[in-house]
Amino acid sequence: MIIASLIILILPLLAFVIQIFFGQRLPRKGDFVSIFAVLITLGVALGMLVSILMLNDSQFMREAAFTWLNLGAFKIELGFLIDNITVVMLVVVALISTMSHIYSIKYMDKDPLYHRYFAYLGLFTFSMNGIVLANNLVSLYIFWELVGLSSYLLIGFWFQKDTAADAGKKAFLANRVGDLGFFIGIMLFFTAVGSFNYSDVFAGVASGSIHGTLLTLAGLGLFCGAIGKSAQVPLHIWLPDAMEGPTPVSALIHAATMVAAGVYMLVRLFPILTPDVLTVIAYIGGFTALFAATIAITQNDIKRVLAYSTLSQLGYMVMAIGTGAYTAGFFHLVTHAMFKASLFYGAGSVIHAMHHALHKLKDHTIDPQDMRNMGGFKTRMPFTYWTMVICTLAISGIPFFSGFLSKDAILAGTLAFANHSPQHLLIPFFGFAAALITPFYMLRLIFMTFHRGSKFPKVYRQIKESPREMTIPMVILSGLTLFLFYTLPQINPFFDTGWWFTNLIVARDTVVTGFEIITAHEIMVSMHHNHLAAMLLSVALAGLGILFSWLMYLRKKLSPQVWAKRSGFLYRLSFNKYYIDEIYERFIYKPLLKLTERVGYIDWDIYDQRFIDGFGRVTDKLARVSGELDWEGLDKMIVNGIGRQFQRAGQSLRQIQTGRLQNYLLFALLGIIIILILQVI
């Protein structure tokens, strides 16, 4: 297992190194190197999955570490932790990464930096696997920032575009904000426990080395990292902009894997989070789920709709962790990775087709990502259409699709949470409201893109289905949204006992002491009680959302324009993303820049030029004055009376008084030395 995961970690890194240095000179610009590397990692990861399935041990765990640095008392060991969660996550990363690699062959076809693109994908896959495999907070943080780097590079891949370069920078900085908290959290754990290793930290928390408010603060610190990486409110602003990157990147990094790293981390570290932290997590996650969904309904850029949908779904996962149903959150991470990656591939396929059509028509005025410029593509792009429909059903939580299973579990978790603590009724409200809105905007996307007539018949006529390299990943991933892949060996999706997934991924009890704790078992029981209610309610809400969307965008019984006008202010809020970007720009970024300018001015123009140089000027003046006195007073008046001897002395004195500060200091120095030497003798 350890060897296998070492292979998984190293191969993409090798691919990165080869591509960066030799990619341009290799045939096909070396894409086969990268693809070969990820295919092997996929094979190895699947092998690992098979072996844990055979073992079928929910407590399975392997660990290996080496000493990274050892200063005596201060020591850091880095290593791997492999359990069922790790393996499942490795498979997800390897799978989506492989799909994105294959998809990119055609999507990035004519890009002059084709080889570098694959290099960055390799770097990303390497760093992401590093996060997954980490057994300690240091490796976690290292790889955490490294995925940030590859994300920066890939968002800004088309760096000639200012928007892309801006988006990359914004993503990195927003993540850094979260990482500050993350790092503080890590330091709090380290100073209390004396180790970065997960198991040591867990033991430290269990024994009470860190407890009470401090533990809560440390947990909140860790959560800050997740807020940044998983783009939760208030640091969500970078993810929609990240859509400036190539679409396969959006699928891999900004939908399926990297943004889920925050969720993964919380799943890993769940047992050390205090109830207070969990409550905060639940609220932030739930709020993000609903908040992002309300933005998604008014966006017209096909990728942005998906981006907000991703935010909303990440909110779901985070909320699930907060409610204690963290295995449900992890389950949703897995199912979401499949259908959301596939949705992005679909969107990429549409954009690709639009690009080609517009290129042929030599039309540069039409935005190829604006859904209002699409319509009726159903017949032109059947593969894209059907895979997207399947995935839309999955994300909407329609029975027999994977999304139904995982979403249902999360919603049951929120109900269970509210049962235990009725004051948190908002949490299930967030969850169910988002469940209503999600199908609405997803079908809106489908209807606007694929149904009805096109606004530009000329463009429409040029639209073609994408090549096989792009459709195959879509078909594979949409196939993986079928419930069966998750519920085996149980055939009936309505029984959640005996699925391989729930057999392997079992909730662990928290190790936190000194708080009122709900055990994992209690949560499970409570979830079971609420299961049916959650299921029925969510299906009903999904149906309602679909109905509205159908009426509005397909049947045209309700006019979106009229509704937009009727909701007025609310519509504008949603359309402008609640003006969050503008608020940050105006109240944080701009004032910061202004502050720096002021500080820079004070530092140089005032402090240095006036104050420090002032010393110089004053001494200079003093020197001149004393020089004058010397000449005018001493020399002219007295010497005239006394004689040439003194005149000579005066003149030589004046030469010494050159008005140069350094001379004075040199003489001062000399004086001190002479005095001291005299003292000794």
């Binding site: 008392a73 760096f159 001291l676």
Partner: protein, 516 residues
């Protein structure tokens, strides 16, 4: 056996300098090659020293001891420990690189390289001298060549910059000299720094001058003297000016080596000889570190000149080392005997010194590369260069990300160690200084975007790519940064024993009941 490797390291450049002075002016290439050979051999010696260095002990090695001025008890006493070893290597490496960075110099070539080598001797001497008088002589020997190198080969305002540099440092030197003499007269007329570290803490303990403890007075004198070199706020304003005016190679040396002398002095003199005052001053030190980090970061963000930005980033980076240094007090009883944090912070500070040396050198070389081509350094005046100079853009990215403390680069390890170390004692200060990391990322990424991203500026559509010589100067530094970032143990093994000795010194002789 008696190879006197340290003497060779120190005096080799002087031999080179003499050779250069004998070469007629017109053979400029011969002069450059001579300088390269001298520094090259020095680098080889330093590398040999690095591998021969005994990592199991914290005491001085390769010592050389000879009488110099017996009537004042002055000796020619050299030796290195884990604190000086990395600095010696860094000096040799950066000097060798600097020769190649200066390869295109065409103004008074002979004088330039002769002074460069003299400077080399001064710096090597400071890092290896164990006699205080010798130390001070070398300290002053550095000053003069530096003054001329800035004043004669610098930019438009070079004379102003040179004088400012000279006055600032001279002011500091005077204070250091007074402190040295105070120690000399009060501790039995010895300049032996090893002895002083043993004697001074006990002898000076309890002595009061003008109502203030002697230890504190001497500490303050030394601190200001060294703080100017680091530089520590508010003694920092000479730095951006001098960097902007100095030629590239001099900026590399200044940022890479000279700034380290301040911190080296604090460790070697303040910490070792006046451990009691460490306890008194640690809080202030951490606070000054914070100010350096935040103030330097804010100023860097405001800069329009790329070289000024890099200069302010030095102020920001060295602030982390101060926070790490202050963490030594974690090892005391009153802070819960947290030896772990003290080790993290102190080793982190020494590591940060070295890393700042390589990273800032890299940054300044890269700034020089673009300046040589475009003849300006205005950040907003470029745009889209990544299209035109992909290799240069890639290397600058490595350097910038090293500067903003990306994990896998050495700067991250040392900064993290400093912060982790400081955190156990100075919780609020460390939390606030984390903001510096954010500022760090902001100014580097902003500058990078403005220079390299966006549409290619038409003016620069035929800018030549970075050439072989320039690559030769940057790539070794980038590799070292990566190597120690991925696996820092080989570096830390060299310094850790000495740092432990230093921690023990501060804890046991500093008035707090010890741990060891």
């Amino acid at each position: 056996m008696d190879f006197h490797i340290l003497s060779w390291l120190i005096w080799l450049p002087v031999l080179g300098m003499m050779a250069i002075l004998l070469i007629p002016n017109r053979f400029t290439n011969t002069i450059k090659i001579t300088a390269a050979v001298a520094t090259g051999i020095q680098l080889i010696l330093a590398v040999v020293l690095w591998f021969a260095f005994d990592r199991t002990t914290g005491s001085f090695q390769f010592t050389e001891y000879a009488q110099w001025i017996p009537s004042f008890n002055i000796f020619y006493f050299l030796g290195i420990d884990g604190l000086s070893m990395p600095m010696v290597l860094l000096t040799a490496l950066l000097m060798f690189i600097s020769v190649f960075v200066s390869w295109k110099t065409d103004k008074m070539v002979k004088g330039y390289f002769a002074l460069l080598l003299l400077l080399d001797t001064g710096m090597m001497g400071v890092f290896t001298a164990l006699d205080f008088f010798l130390f001070y002589v070398f300290w002053e020997v550095m000053l003069l060549p530096m003054y001329f190198l800035i004043g004669l080969w610098g930019g438009p305002k070079r004379e102003y910059a040179a004088i400012k540099f000279f006055l600032y440092t001279l002011f500091g030197s005077v204070l250091i000299l007074i402190a040295i003499l105070a120690l000399y007269f009060n501790c039995g007329y010895t300049f032996n720094m090893v002895e002083l570290a043993e004697i001074a803490p006990t002898v000076l303990s309890g002595v009061v001058w003008w109502g203030m403890s002697a230890i504190k007075v001497i500490w303050i004198l030394l601190f200001i003297g060294f703080a100017i070199k680091v530089p520590i706020f508010p003694f920092h304003t000479w730095l951006p000016l001098v960097h902007v005016e100095a030629p590239t190679a001099i900026s590399v040396i200044l940022a890479g080596i000279l700034l380290k002398m301040g911190l080296y002095g604090l460790f070697r003199v303040n910490y070792a000889m006046l451990p009691e005052a460490v306890w008194w001053f640690a809080g202030a030190l951490a606070l000054l570190g914070l100010v350096n980090i935040i103030w330097g970061g804010l100023c860097a963000l405001a800069q329009k000149d790329l070289k000024r930005l890099v200069a302010y980033s030095s102020i920001n980076h060295l602030g982390f080392a101060l926070v790490g240094m202050a963490a030594v007090v974690a090892a005391g009883v009153m802070n819960g005997n947290n030896l772990m944090s003290a080790q993290a912070g102190m080793n982190g500070a020494v590591f940060q010194m070295f890393n700042h040396g390589t990273i800032s050198a890299m940054l300044f070389i890269l700034v020089g590369v673009i300046y040589d081509r475009a003849h300006h350094r205005n950040i907003a005046g470029f745009g889209g260069l990544a299209t035109r100079m992909p290799i240069y853009a890639g290397l600058t990215m490595v350097a910038f990300f090293a500067g903003l403390g990306l994990p896998s680069m050495s700067g991250f390890v040392s900064e993290a160690m400093c912060l982790i170390g400081g955190f156990s004692v100075f919780r609020m200060i460390v939390v606030l200084s984390m903001l510096g990391i954010l500022l760090n990322a902001t100014y580097f990424l902003r500058a990078y975007q403005k220079i390299f991203f966006g549409k290619l500026n038409k003016k620069y559509s035929d800018l030549p790519e970075i050439n072989g010589r320039e690559l030769f100067t940057v790539i070794p530094l980038a590799l070292i940064t990566l190597l120690f970032g991925v696996y820092p143990a080989p570096f830390l093994n060299v310094i850790k024993e000495t740092v432990n000795v230093l921690i023990e010194q501060v804890v046991t002789l500093g008035g707090s009941t010890g741990l060891f």
